[in-house]
Symmetry: C2
Amino acid sequence: MNARPTDSTCPVARTVDIVGDRWSLLIIRDAFDGVRRFSQFQRSLGIAKNILATRLRHLVDVGVLRVEPASGGGSYQDYVLTDKGKDLFDLIVSLRQWGQDHTFTPGEQHSVLVDVATDQPVPRLRYTTPDGTHIQAHDIRVRKVNEAAQPL
Amino acid sequence: MNARPTDSTCPVARTVDIVGDRWSLLIIRDAFDGVRRFSQFQRSLGIAKNILATRLRHLVDVGVLRVEPASGGGSYQDYVLTDKGKDLFDLIVSLRQWGQDHTFTPGEQHSVLVDVATDQPVPRLRYTTPDGTHIQAHDIRVRKVNEAAQPL
């Protein structure tokens, strides 16, 4: 899908090389929303059939989606998230939350995440460590592979 | 940058339309790592000058980066994250964590996030609500704009 792999020791770059294009991200979003069939993806995305077919095949090849016999029987196929694909949940949430925070004018309506048990909107999610500490950009830095640990 | 805007009430789609391409995501990653100058981005990404110039201009236009006089003086310009850009931290973390979990073989080395205060690796971050509840895909669903709230 990409002409040239990026820095091979950077996990961000590896993910971007696999799912970092507009259509793949929107297909994965739709899959989380329960879209399963080729024609449903096509209707949702307004995408050319050949491009959609290429992207779906790519996402199956990399293990993000898998093909299943159609849930209603018949000759159709369903595309469903694998466990590896379901682990992209955080990525879709982060795209959603930034979009909610920065791309809507006050009062403008947008879709929202709701709790399946209560049907109430989910509060703003934050990245926290297992002990509950909220981690933001200024708390961390990236240590490259060829960089020695700093003495304390 | 994109031919056609997607579903205007979906925050995921709006974010994807702004930063959902490989080069923009890698430029934003580099900006978080302290890259500031055109030539540094070019060296890091191995990207053609005209493509890099287009992407940087786009990220400035949408308010993710801003231009500053070079930190060391002289006629150069620095590109730095705005507050809106810094809010993409979660997105870069989610790309990183999925890459760490799914794109490296056991024992294969990759860059890691470390705590700036202790220089120790940051534990796996999870999305939690303000009361500390870890939220996963099966806990939530998306309520579309034209969908009424469900009676409880």
